[in-house]
């Protein structure tokens, strides 16, 4: 009996010792003590935290964000090195899940070398994580979280370079009604903060214009079968289906609605603006579908071609996803702020509490030319770049819509 008992106790001890060893190793993950063994010698180690889903349903968009941020950091690193700073990226997976996201946020701010965060694709992750960044006094620039609530929490350290749902949803509604001539619409959202917010804004603006909403429905992310829903929509026969959500479900709605005999197009927000949408729906089904996305099309921007070249050189064989350029711009916003603070207070001060505060203030007054257009922030921390471009699927690819 006592042997069994002591064995059990031994097992607990062994577990705890192992746990303690591993966590103590993590405890050592502190900028201050291992700053000395940098390859750069006297350089101050500075990191930008990047977090988005690298695994899970929207991993394609999430890794795109990491790619964009990596490009910006690689581009800026040589210049910062001259200022005495070695800049690197700390990329952490948030799995598009609020709990994992908040853990990731804590992991990043626990590293004192992290002076800025480019993070979170999903608004549902960004909102709880922003409280962590606020408590730690680290700036957060979101490349893709578009739910209005994010910047309305009264946090001075929270910014975003993407247009909020209010702007995009009402733009889409006006465009659909005035320019495209649709008068009735069936609205679907995917029960996420992003999709719900966007669809609600669209519906409100479309009704205000005098359009008719024939139905509003909620679907669940990961669902595959929307045949019942689209059959029902077809019987009401609206001009258009508006989908608030991401590309996978949107593409299935597009495919199944056309197979069920619905003749109108599907329209959605920036979550649809990726080649994946067309691949899943099938080019024939997606033909004529609309999406709105912020900023000008990549090809029409002075730095657009440059970005594309740079991207193709660094990530051969990969495609540019919807938020890559925003992630690049968001990272550049932080980089510019680091430069300003380093010039002002000296490179050593960048990672101090005062330095991080100075970075927040520097980001607030950002005024730079990014890939997505001119980047500056209003008093809430939202981008002042409110340009929204409508896109349409033509011959199996998204192209800017022109009449």
């Amino acid at each position: 009996m006592s042997v069994a008992k002591s064995k059990r106790l031994f097992a607990i001890i062994a577990m705890l010792v192992m746990l303690a060893m591993v966590v103590t190793a993590c405890g050592g993950n502190d900028g201050a003590e291992n700053g000395g063994d940098n390859p750069g010698g006297d350089l101050v180690e500075v990191k930008i935290g990047v977090s988005s889903p690298f695994t899970g349903d929207v991993a394609a968009l999430g890794t795109g964000i990491r790619n964009g941020a990596q490009l910006a950091i690689e581009e800026a690193a040589p210049e910062l090195e001259e200022m005495g700073i070695s800049l690197s990226m700390l990329a952490v997976d948030d799995a598009a899940d609020p709990k994992t996201g908040v853990n990731a946020a804590n992991q990043m701010v626990s590293d004192s070398a992290v002076v800025g965060i480019v993070a979170h694709l999903n608004s549902g992750v960004s909102i709880p994580a922003s409280a962590v960044y606020n408590e730690a006094g680290v700036v957060q620039v979101s490349p893709a979280s578009t739910n209005p609530a994010l910047t309305l929490q009264g946090f001075e350290n929270v910014f975003r370079v993407c247009t909020i749902d209010t702007v995009q949803g009402s733009f889409a509604a006006e465009y659909a009604y005035d320019e495209l001539g649709f008068t009735s619409v069936a609205v679907i959202d995917d029960s996420t903060p992003y999709g719900e917010g966007l669809a609600a804004e669209f519906a409100a603006a479309f009704e205000a214009k005098g359009g008719e909403i024939t139905s509003t429905d909620k679907i669940q992310v990961k669902d595959l079968d929307f045949t019942a829903l689209v059959t029902k929509i077809r019987s009401a026969n609206p001009d258009l289906i508006y989908f608030g959500g991401m590309y996978t479900e949107a593409a299935l709605v597009s495919k199944q609605s056309k197979e069920a005999g619905f003749e109108g197009p599907v329209m959605g927000g920036d979550g649809l603006y990726t080649q994946q949408y067309i691949d899943i729906a099938g080019a024939a089904n997606a033909e004529g579908d609309f999406a709105t996305s912020i900023g000008l099309p990549l090809s029409e921007q002075p730095k657009g071609q440059e970005f594309q070249d740079m991207f193709e050189a660094t990530f051969p064989g990969q495609t540019i996803e919807a938020y890559d350029t925003y992630a690049y711009d968001a990272t550049m916003v932080v980089v510019e702020a680091i430069k300003a603070v380093a010039a002002d207070l000296g490179a050593d001060a960048v990672t101090s509490v005062a330095g991080k505060q100075a970075i927040i203030e520097a980001v607030a007054v950002t005024d730079m030319q990014g890939v997505t257009g001119n980047v500056s922030f209003d008093e809430n921390g939202d981008t002042t770049n409110k340009a929204v471009t409508p896109y349409v699927v033509r011959d199996g690819a998204w192209v800017p819509y022109t009449d």
């Binding site: 019942a228 829903l229 199944q256």
Partner: protein, 309 residues
Amino acid sequence: MSVELGIIAQQFVNGLTLGGMYALLALGYTLVYGILLMINFAHAEMFMFGAYVGLFTLQGLSRIEFFTSSGPALLLLYLLTFLIAMVATGILGVIIERFAYRPLRHAPRLAPLISAIGVSLFLQNAALLWISSRSLPFPVLFEVRTFRIGGASISSMQILIITVTILLMLVLDTFISRTRLGKSMRATSQDRETAGLMGIDINRVIALTFFIGPALGGAAGIFSGMYYGNIKYNMGFIPGIKAFTAAVVGGIGNLRGAMLGGFLIGLLESLAAAYISTGYKDVIAFVILIIVLIFKPGGLLGESVAEKV
């Protein structure tokens, strides 16, 4: 009015197509449960695995010009694809049984469940990391026609899925009720120990069960790929839960119950999405489950069996 009726007819076909896939998947849950009394949580991953093998086989074989040259050759291509994917998925099922479940045959009831959850996590992440985190488009090499009858639009794909599903079920039903091997499976499910004493090789029967169930699940996975046009590493999760629900509604351990349950859940889900609420359609499936179990605790076609966790 006839348009209204047509829409209802179309909803029925939608539901039957969905239900056919649930039913095929539910058969795997019910077969394993009937023999080992365990919930094979990893069965949902068979759906996913079958779809991936199907996709790669289809992509590989369609490079050979012969297969796309004529109608009969195309049919052969699809038959081969199904055969290869079903056999591969069946083998995976047998391997999983051998390494994850067999060591636990005498363990407490919940241990195999946890092991199954582990297998499920492993397979899902393996597909995510080693294949792709994205949805992969699933090509359809033949022309899908849409038939309009009254107000209804029914695609040839839906007809194909429903027909083949029913065909596979008939084959399985005949196999279980008419052949010697089927008989030994039934015997094992009734009383494993006694069946063993009567000279039935229990391990072989269990391995066979773990071949047939996943093979059918794999076929359902290919159907899902063909019907929805894309496949993904986590595609098995939701159909898995629904199919398990279907197996229980029909009476778990009962093959015909699983088929009935699958079609019933698919049909009710479609009708609920159309006429009640899309947001609550899954709630309706579970409410049906609860009502059925309260009034018929053994499921529609099952008997109530005493057991414990």
